[in-house]
């Protein structure tokens, strides 16, 4: 098996409303296993749009997307859902937890959906992830009883539950204060170093980006710089 987790070839994206507008221009991108990459760029340059395509949620694009060596074009909606479930962990700027469920259930849901392990095992794994993020004591609370930083950690735990190939984040620290942002960075960093977890994180925070392995810079829908940083 190759070391490549995700590969984008010549991806372009147009919006036609109100006028046709090319938002992504021939994006080529390869993410290897264990790489902690960040995406930077001005507001409106197409970072989120790219991330939605890479995470298979948006299927209207030109070009080719390979995840784990498999072409994602012409896949059924159900197959893409399975790819997201099994191989991609997504962390949003807003935490998007389900308030109807307890914290532990929130973390477990994608695991139960995958059904690779029994519910008991998924629960044990979920506790393990919460512990890793230092919030196992909040497991039985409802999400709306948590602080913003705690919620974001729950969302990260949920993204980790199926041991995904890659974690994608769209400004996961965008809504957090300095201290909590630092905390989230530490978690990502540890995941990358200790567990060889691949990460692709959109951020506006240069301090955050500077400490990642790789900085991808976008301007007007095109990648203008791809800087591999030396290990510190």
């Amino acid at each position: 098996m190759s070391n490549i987790v995700l590969q984008a070839r010549n991806i372009s994206k147009y919006f036609h409303d109100p006028v046709t507008n090319q938002v992504l221009k021939n994006i080529n991108l390869t993410i290897e296993k264990g790489v902690f990459a960040s995406v930077m760029g001005k507001s409106g340059c197409g970072k989120s749009t790219l991330l939605y395509i890479l995470s298979t949620m948006d299927t209207e694009y030109e070009g080719e997307l390979f995840i784990d060596g498999v072409n994602m074009r012409n896949r059924k909606e159900k197959e893409l859902a399975l790819v997201r479930n099994e191989k991609i962990g997504f962390v949003f700027q807003f935490h998007y937890l389900l308030n109807e469920f307890s914290v532990i259930r929130n973390v477990m849901l994608p695991g139960i959906k995958l059904a690779k392990y029994s519910e008991k095992e998924v629960e044990a794994k979920a506790y393990e992830k919460l512990k890793l993020l230092g919030i196992e004591s909040e497991a039985l609370k409802k999400p709306n009883q948590l602080s913003g930083g705690q919620k974001q950690r729950v969302a990260i735990a949920r993204a980790l539950i199926n041991d995904p190939l890659i974690i994608m984040g769209d400004e996961p620290t965008g809504n957090l204060d300095k201290k909590n942002s630092e905390n989230v960075y530490e978690i990502f960093s540890e995941l990358a170093e200790t567990y060889k977890q691949s990460l692709l994180i959109v951020t506006h925070d240069p301090e955050f980006a500077n400490r990642t392995h790789r900085i991808i810079e976008m301007v007007d829908g095109a990648i203008t710089a791809d800087i591999i940083q030396a290990e510190k």
Partner: protein, 419 residues
């Protein structure tokens, strides 16, 4: 595993919106309750009214119409075989409407496995004499035991004892209307004139009340032998053979068969009482229409609540999809919500419908026209319950299907961007 996951999400969503969910379920419960009650009540009413007819009418009646022979003697003659018969105004032979060979026919019928019972009858046209006034009526000569067994004769003898008709010679049970007109009490002697002009005196042993006023005003009952005496006929003389069959639906078929075999006229109950059938079916139709309308209204309630829920739970749907739930999973979640509302509401509706029917069953309903009826009648046909639950499931499925379909099509990107 999969169902467990879907159902756990469904139930959590329902719990989060318990109030609306309950309102939707109550809507279904109400409509099913009314559906069941209405149909049971209408069914009971139909049975009651049909009972007026079916309980007391033979399913098949054999009789002889006085009519000219279809084949006139000249038609049988070989000599005129190739000639055209233009004899018009043919008249029937002077004969009584007697069924020939009645003993043999009755015997054959009693051994027919499709037949539940046979009862002979003689109908005689008479005049009741009240002082100097005569009024027309009819006397039915009956086999008292068979009539009691097959047609609940006993139930309709409201005054006096029906068995006296058999035990007292020359006795008569008068229709209530006839008795009122004649001012005849039990034990009185009354006088009637037969169609042959004979005057006969009979002892009144009871009153008969069928519930149909027009009949009670002209009809009376005597035993077979008394009727034969009235008509000065032998004890073979019978004008009608009344048959109860085991399966009511078979009556028209059997009527045709018996008419052919026994060479008599035969009429089945469905043909004889077509207007009652129509009444029953119209009533049933109306109850179904009302019940189904109620259900559809409840269905719209579910539809609205589900739409609202989906609107409120956009984020939930988006996140479920982002974390790997397929459109189909989302659809199933909402359909399951709808079905749960439908089935729970429906089952409760069946229960309440049953209870309400039982209450109605206890309400007194006394009417002079129906001497055997004491309370409102209810038909506890399991068919109504099956139709009720099936309809509630179908309606809620449809009510849930369209919102669920919409939810399954929601694009998570649009929702997440919308934040």
């Amino acid at each position: 595993m999969k169902f467990k996951l879907i159902s756990s999400v469904s139930f959590s969503l329902m719990l989060a919106r318990l109030k609306q969910t309950t309102v939707a379920a109550v809507g279904v419960t109400f409509s099913i309750t009314m559906f069941i009650t209405l149909l049971s009540f209408m069914g009971g009413l139909n049975d009651l009214l049909d009972g007026l007819i079916t309980k007391r009418s033979p399913h098949v009646r054999l009789y002889n119409e006085v009519e000219p022979s279809e084949k006139q003697p000249v038609d049988r003659s070989l000599q005129f075989g190739r000639h055209y018969n233009f004899v018009s105004s043919v008249k029937p032979k002077n004969e009584m409407p007697e069924i020939y060979n009645s003993r043999k026919i009755m015997n054959t019928l009693q051994h027919d496995t499709r037949v539940a019972g046979v009862s002979p009858k003689i109908t005689a046209q008479v005049f009741y004499n009240v002082g100097s006034i005569d009024f027309a009526g009819s006397v039915n000569g009956i086999d008292v035991d068979a009539e009691a067994k097959l047609f609940s004769f006993k139930d309709y003898v409201t005054t006096g004892n029906y068995i006296d008709l058999k035990n007292t010679p020359n006795s008569i049970i008068l229709g209530k209307g006839v008795a009122d007109k004649m001012l005849a009490d039990i034990g009185d002697l009354i006088q009637i004139t037969t169609s042959k002009g004979e005057r006969v005196q009979l002892i009144v042993v009871g009153y008969f009340q069928s519930g149909l006023m027009d009949i009670d005003k002209i009809q009376s009952y005597t035993s077979l032998s008394t009727a034969q005496k009235l008509l000065v006929e032998t004890d073979n003389y019978i004008t009608d053979i009344q048959i109860k069959v085991n399966e009511l639906e078979m009556a028209p078929e059997l009527a045709k068969e018996y008419a052919r075999i026994f060479e008599t006229n035969a009429v089945d109950i469905q043909t004889a009482n077509a207007q009652f059938e129509t009444g029953s079916s119209v009533r049933t139709l109306i109850s179904y229409a009302v019940g189904i309308t109620l259900l559809i209204v409840a269905g719209f309630g579910i539809y609205n609540i589900l739409n609202m829920m989906i609107y409120e739970k956009m984020d939930t749907i988006a996140i479920l999809k982002a974390t790997g739930f397929s459109g189909n999973d989302v659809k199933n979640i909402f359909i399951l919500i709808s079905m749960t509302i439908g089935i729970l509401g429906g089952l409760l509706g069946l229960l309440f419908g049953f209870i309400l029917s039982m209450i109605i069953d206890q309400i007194p309903f006394v009417t002079a026209a129906l001497p055997t009826i004491k309370t409102y009648a209810i038909n506890y046909n399991p068919k109504f319950y099956i139709i009720g639950i099936v309809f509630s499931i179908i309606t809620t499925y449809l009510a849930g299907y369209f919102p669920a379909k919409k939810a399954s099509k929601l694009d998570p990107v649009i929702i997440i961007r919308g934040k």
